[in-house]
Assembly symmetry: C2
């Protein structure tokens, strides 16, 4: 928690549940990313947190933007980003959205199969396209590999096809998985892109860009490698595989950029022992899986909880949300403990909750409103 | 699909994704429920679909309402329900919500542990309370058993405690699990409630109500038993265990009341083979787990899909949503097949999608708006 957030909470005691996010931390993260990857273009993954103040701060810092939909492109434009700094980064796009993006001047589009390529050719003629490869994602909390990307053979064919369709075969992308904990996760994939660059050059198509994707981690329960450790391995692999002929490099941080900048403040609705004498208490919060904490599915993202009683005697807990849905149970198996003094009405804060929370809130399952958001 | 919905779709071609729900089917379901349970009070589980037109139709039919939050109570009041016909049916309530409900005249509250009972006593003095028992939920698609309910021993103590706290120990409830396919799922639980009625009567506390919960199924992929089959088993068990001294009976249908009344109309964004020559195609729709189809988690709810090419040659498919989240994959293991003719831009309809869809939509993950809703 930053002093600015602490002061905000103390002065305003905002109604719960809410997100409070310190924009200066976003700026620090952007600066750290720029220092780690001085030669790369940074495309912020808007889906991590598309709030207007976040986008505006990043526009001011010179960030570029990776958008998942026409709606996200529009948000970036409205926040002051220019169209040449926005990538349409979803491999699954509505035809009408491609058309809208093209009319707005968006030049860069991802794809991973022929029908999508044809859609882009039809609705954004002449666009720069890059092909998403499927790569190893070991070490990632969210692998993303089943649904997206294609193999190198198919990618080569598709790049040749892109040229035939009048598109600019611009580059290759991959995604090593989100909340990727292994600093050498990108190295093998870089070798794959270099090989494809060579093969396509021999076929007369000269690619110019490698998009390393995002997935750089934020600090939840477990320690994470620093961004400079990832950057070191990536630079070494790029130098080894591409030599002096380095392509344009893109990175797409989302979680890394906003995760540690925000906290979610919640209220304890109930603490109960579901069986008499059971050492495990159930702690029910006023936010759950359907109020924004969707990434707790399978207990994948393990937030850090902070209470006013930390340091006093604690005991094991199950942590659950407020709805009548039994899937709305956040943590049963991850070994969470909370102070015995914790009770109904107390506040509990979830740290590092700035990414992938606000937009996951449902419009009103069980009647509960989406969480409030404060950007300070 | 009802003729009314077919006509609406043909005449308006509404933008996708959207829900179209035929209110006359809700009325038919209410009538079927009333015929099956002539002596019971029907409390519609608002969380299944809290749309104003649904609530208004049910108010007109004389339904009562099971609300999960103060916000849902407010929706019922605004739709014309009187406070004495609304139950506050969530075992986890914010203290301020209990206070608001009490001020609005709500008399009936559920609980399943002592701290919740104390909260009700403090904020809704004199209220009627019922205790939720944990019971067997075999046969249910959504068991609900881990998070809610208490054992009979604890329930007996809590009912005595309720009287001490100045509350009215009114009855017992249980929930045999949602989308319950087994028509005798309620019978054992009814025996448990009768035993507790007896034991408490001996201790001087005379209970008056048994709430059988909801969970009655709607027709997705699999055939389901008719509501009269459930009612028959329940009546027999009530007669056996309570004899001529039948308590007031409550049922809380949600899915049963609205599930088969609505369909979700979607657009195919992309059909692709992720590996060359793979017989399985991936079909990406413009709605997914984060656009309302949350119950496809674990492939639990298996919607019926209808396309314009049904009956022509088909092949195996994986069905996925439009977002950059790999968890947004609806069906990989359930053996779905779709026509080979299906292509980008085609419409696909999900039948029996009137329950537990609209409010599960996120406010805008990946920038996608919640689905539109039409009540006709």
């Amino acid at each position: 928690m930053t002093p600015k957030i602490a002061r905000f909470l103390a002065e305003h005691s905002p109604a719960t549940p809410c997100l409070v996010l310190d924009l200066d931390v976003v700026e620090q993260n952007f600066s750290a990313m720029r220092a780690a990857f001085p030669a790369a273009h940074i495309y912020y993954a808007v889906k991590a947190n598309p709030a207007r103040p976040v986008l505006e701060r990043l526009v001011a810092l010179g960030s570029r933007f990776d958008a998942a939909s026409w709606e996200e492109i529009k948000m970036c434009l409205d926040a002051g980003a220019s169209a040449d700094r926005i990538s349409f980064g979803n491999t699954i796009k509505k035809a009408s959205s491609i058309r809208q993006a093209h009319e707005a001047g968006i030049k860069l589009y991802v794809f991973d199969c022929e029908p999508e390529l044809e859609k882009i050719a039809a609705h954004a003629p002449g666009a720069r396209v890059f092909c998403r490869l499927v790569v190893g994602t070991e070490g990632a909390v969210f692998p993303l590999a089943r649904k997206f990307g294609t193999g190198t053979d198919m990618a080569r064919e598709l790049m040749l096809r892109a040229a035939e369709l009048g598109l600019v075969p611009y580059g290759l992308s991959f995604h090593a998985g989100s909340q990727q904990m292994s600093p050498d996760a990108h190295e093998a994939a870089i070798g794959q892109t270099a090989m494809l660059f060579d093969e396509l050059a021999q076929a007369g198509v000269r690619l110019r860009m490698v998009n390393l994707g995002g997935g750089f981690p934020t600090h939840y329960q477990d320690d994470i490698p620093g961004i400079e450790i990832f950057a070191h391995g990536i630079s070494r692999a790029l130098a080894y595989h591409f030599g002096n002929d380095l392509p344009e490099i893109l990175v797409e941080p989302g979680r890394f950029m906003v995760g540690n900048a925000g906290l979610v403040s919640t209220e304890v609705l109930l603490v109960s022992r579901r069986v008499k004498g059971d050492p495990t208490r159930w702690v029910y919060l006023d936010i759950g899986r359907f109020g924004g904490l969707a990434e707790t599915e399978g207990e994948a993202t393990r937030y850090r909880f902070v209470t006013a009683y930390d340091g006093t005697e604690d005991g094991p807990v199950v942590i659950a949300g407020p709805t009548c849905d039994s899937a709305d149970t956040l943590y049963e198996k991850s070994g969470y403990r909370m102070p015995l003094a914790l009770n109904t009405g107390d506040r509990v804060e979830l740290h590092a909750a700035g990414a992938y929370v606000t937009t996951y809130a449902t419009v009103g399952f069980n009647g509960f409103r989406p969480l409030d958001e404060y950007y300070i």
